[in-house]
Symmetry: D2
């Protein structure tokens, strides 16, 4: 047991931080202004490709893909990647610069792990190069999709094709003009045993019958250029080779996909919370009301002290989950992954909310990242499974452990 970052991690942290200071922080305001302007909706910020090239050149590329993937991976473990994801979390749109943004990361893992050589050539390669973006079509408006067995989209074999019908929403990234490929979850066999009804299939975004109905706002944000799409699949036809892994394997793929994805989200949340803490500390040191600087109010010190406690605990929990995943695999770590998925978004919401309050009106407006952080964190109490589902399963598992 050892709670110090390794020298390797420390160096990567420094390198990534330096990249932020040199290339990202100077344009932060410019990018925000661009992205929040409705006239630019669904357009990527023009400087993004240049930044991506710089990151690639610096060796800060695809860091998310664990060592266990061999040649494709830049060679980090989950434990090593986690503190870097934390740094990326400090700016919502920065992960893409390093080709480390959701849902692409999860999709790349799926393709690297379960994709056929053809899938990998056609889709994984351009994704790994950052040339295209992707979407993951799982959630449906008509059913409680947190119970994946509820999902109703049909994927029916007809000759050499699969025919897909259904409605999906909250398809993050789906509005991006560079989004070229979607992984779609649906039922190939509604009569199979509960966990073998579902399959996943690759659907190019330009396939006839795939119609983007509308972008969904989250609170008032549209998260351009990725967006969150509502998509109708109306007799969409793809070659039978587009099926991933095999019929009835959808659940299995979903399970494999979600573990690392969750930990990345959590580390970014810790980065959001950490930056919020720093912002509120600075604010507390500056502002004066009723004759006293904010930092001299005991209640404000309490908010800041409590935030520090909350962040550090969640950080350790997430790192320990990463360590366990590296050592024992995703399945053996499922309780710990559930724990971080429950803990991190709620922790971040509390910290960000305190930071907003200390900032007054500025805190809920466009001049700090706080309001957008809050919304991102709030969404993560639902995305990849709502708190309630994780608690339901974790609670069951804990009871089983101690009551048998």
């Amino acid at each position: 047991m050892n709670f110090e970052y390794s020298e390797k991690i420390k160096k990567l942290q420094q390198k990534l931080t330096a990249f932020f200071e040199e290339h990202i922080l100077p344009v932060e305001e410019e990018v925000n202004t661009f992205l929040y302007n409705p006239d630019n909706r669904w357009k990527p910020w023009p400087g993004m490709e240049d930044l991506k090239a710089k990151a690639k050149a610096a060796g800060l590329w695809n860091l998310f893909l664990p060592k266990s993937y061999g040649a494709l991976s830049p060679g980090l473990t989950n434990l090593e990647y986690a503190p870097l994801a934390e740094i990326m979390g400090r700016i919502l749109w920065s992960s893409e610069i390093f080709n480390c943004s959701a849902p692409d990361t999860g999709n790349m893992e799926v393709l690297a792990k379960y994709g056929s050589p053809e899938h990998q050539k056609q889709w994984l390669e351009p994704l790994m190069n950052g040339e295209i973006r992707s979407a993951f079509l799982m959630t449906e408006p008509q059913v409680a999709s947190s119970d994946a067995t509820n999902i109703e989209t049909s994927i029916i074999r007809e000759g050499d094709e699969y025919v897909i019908n259904g409605t999906k929403w909250w398809s993050s990234g789906g509005m991006n003009p560079d989004c070229k490929i979607a992984i779609v979850m649906g039922k190939t066999d509604p009569d199979a045993p509960r966990h073998q009804q579902q399959s996943m299939v690759l659907v190019p975004m330009d396939t006839p019958g795939l119609k983007i109905i509308r972008p969904l706002s989250v609170f008032g944000f549209y998260d351009s250029p990725e967006g969150h799409a509502e998509i109708v699949l109306d007799n969409v036809r793809v070659p039978k080779e587009n099926l991933i892994l095999g019929e009835g394997r959808g659940f299995e793929i979903a399970q494999g996909r979600l573990g690392p994805g969750r930990i990345h989200h959590c580390m970014r949340l810790i980065g959001m919370a950490q930056r919020s803490l720093e912002l509120m500390s600075k604010r507390a040191a500056e502002r004066i009301a009723f004759g006293k600087t904010f930092k001299d109010y005991s209640s404000i010190r309490q908010e800041i002290a409590q935030s520090q406690c909350d962040i550090e605990q969640a950080r350790l929990l997430t790192l320990s989950a990463a360590d366990k995943m590296d050592k024992l695999g995703n399945k053996a770590s499922k309780d710990l992954i559930a724990m971080i998925k429950i803990v991190a978004p709620n922790m971040a919401l509390k910290v960000i909310d305190r930071a907003m309050q200390i900032h007054g009106g500025k805190g809920v407006g466009p001049d700090t990242p706080l309001a957008h952080f809050f919304v991102a964190a709030r969404m993560l109490r639902l995305a990849d499974g709502p708190d309630e589902v994780h608690m339901y399963q974790l609670g069951k598992s804990v009871i089983k452990k101690y009551a048998e």
Copy 2:
């Protein structure tokens, strides 16, 4: 002591509810779609004037203005108005239909109470008729404006004019094309005793030197058509008659303005929470996951039961504050007003957040009023004084009461 609504209130509730059912609910989705479309930003929904005329015709007009104002008032007490404001709170943009929306209501009270006959003729009359809208320019970006003595905008007498310089933001309503008049708070005498430095002055929105810098978003929402404006006052000149009540009386006016305004906000928050509870109850009765309808999960029943407890308590507290204001006046009720201002937004946030969670992705998106309710409630932990300021003063007052 009697906890039943009077017959008079019950009838008004029925009348207002009937108006909602007949005229407002049928267009709710249409109006939302219009208002959330960035192409319509700062344009009122075209049907609004027609609805206002209907409300006026139905005698549901200016209900907010207490009986104590005599002929101007439709004759309700605060206690009688409160349950009506609750109903209006169920739809964010509905108060305007009844000429009961902030900041106009507060501005009208200021003009009715402290305005000269000329002020009343020129500005109060069209406001009471719903012909124009108004803004209240208080908060400043550079200082902690919750301590009103911090406010720095200068109002300097030069000959027969006042010259105003400063920057204001979070000027709600300021983006509305129908907004014609602003009440501006600033310092006429920085050397006077702490609470006599400030004055309030009427500034027509088209006065040269008054420049709208930008609209501020709140968690991504722009709240069109009213908006929240950042405004620079650059050598703005108004006739000396535009001063309200007298130099150094700004603080006194602010105090008188905020009591009723706070109670209106709180009653609307209770309406938001109540509607959220109803929505989550309906959702709980419909959705199924893991083989059970949501309503049969004990944790979901707890969320709903707790919400009912939270709402009912806050409602009673707000009504009791209204009753005390009616009987003993705003000043004698200041502790109770502080209490509702602390309680209602926090209560609403908790209830709305539970409702969002039970709705899954739908809850944070555009298809329910929940996300916007949440943002409105969150803003009210800051607007009209942040929680912390109210607790600081209330705590002091309670200690004094029991420790002397």
Copy 3:
């Protein structure tokens, strides 16, 4: 709707407060010292009978029994009694002085409402006169007694007698030497429909076979002289006339008994919280640390302000439940009664805990009533139904109301 206490209530509050100041506060410390001394365990404080006589003489006797009971009642409604129960709550052992202490009050209501003339003559009369005390034997160690259908004690008719077998615990009052009669809940017919299996029977405490096993401590407190008894009923035989109301009516009696009892508990909890708030206000005004009086720390003001908000809301909710019970009866008020039962203990725990913390070591020790208040409030999250059961039923009822 009217939130002011009536003149009648105000006068009673003054009278009761005066009685406290003259007769109770001067002996508070003496009584506490007596009761906490293990040498005095299960002995009533010798001065108690004298105080009871004084209360009777002052007309402050049996105030709890609602007007609706006619001649037996001193004529108060629930709404009128509630603020008096609040005052009694300020000192844990004071209710008995006014013959208003649990479980006697509930038992008297049962006897007044459902008892035969013989029951009333033999047991109700001396209870109403404060000559004897009583116990209520419901909870059992072996089953989750919050679901009353789980209760297993058997009450079997044999000839002209009922034979009772079972184990009960948390029989409050059972250790008191003056406790002469118990009402026992048990099953007369385990094969009847779920809510008709249970009956209630009167069992004199000196009946052969009724054995007190031990007193139960609550967080180290024994609550002498009443105590909480574990009692075995081993072939206890009583005449068949001791059955109350009829076989299978136990559930019905339990329902009738619990409404008013819950409201009394809640009002006393509000009294505990109110006294705690006053104590912490005084403490805040006195103590100094790090160069500042406690009352000047913003965090301490927040604790006090929040406590004031919490108390006032719970008070209003409880009073509104009392009002509804008076007007529409216990059954129509069941949701409101559930609400106060959920709200009041949790509110009191929060307020008392803050008061303890501000008192430092003194707060958890014997020199303030705070620690004992805390324990009393904690117990009331379980007694008369745990929070979870009330929320389960209230949640169901709310969903039904809004989703049908």
Copy 4:
């Protein structure tokens, strides 16, 4: 960074757990019954000396004293001791068996670090051997002792003696008949700079003038045989050699004493919480209400899942503090120590409270350790500095870190 216990720790955990299973668990109920019986107050349980001998023989003795103390220490680091303290925390009276109980551990550290050879010979040796017990006299009833500069007890040099006058309370361990020596904090020079006024002096418990006034209860517990004493020091005279380290060094000693002590308390709290979680899991698997086993209620699973999350985070935070103390020393770790001191008691209270609630009446009574755990945890929100003081200092330190 590595989150797995070392092999050395794992072996020690197994050894200690085996000792518990063989020697302690079988007598747990017997010891509790003995200690809770008021007739045995201030008498140690007779079997204790035998258990201590067994622990010594097993090499499970004085484990708390860090490696850095050289020959005196059994050779564990803080990081290695922490998981063992967690196991001891599972039974409140078990630490003494391993000579690892407060306040002796802190007193031994003081003597080992700052004591003269004579102090060590006379007092440290018998303490290390478990032959005597000790007390630490710091807190005073008249002042907010969390601000140690408030402490008023005077220690005045007269010739070759110090004369001590003052009143102390919450002197834990002071009631124990085996308690032979006290370390007393007081002022040698009230006119010195703020942090140089205080000194510490050794006072044998049988010194004339040292009078035990009374034991203090915590909630209703007396914590026999150690107890919490109120003690008057009335012209107590000790030889000048009894002064530790030197006049004015009291603050410095207090600082050095508290770091490790806090971490031990926290690890024991984690043990209490862990045991509570296990108890509630077992209860959830057994009990049935309203037709369902507790474990199938989603709300109960949430309580258990959340508890698991809370415990694991606090455990990691405490272990990381221990690791930092080992590597960089107590002073460099002060923020982390403050963090665990804030986090662990509050975490434990939440978990224990949930466990009590799930146990119903049993949970607050004498048949589980839960109520006593709760009280122990509650006391630790005050002992060794209340939450508020730690947050005040931690908040200041965090702001300084990020706002400079």
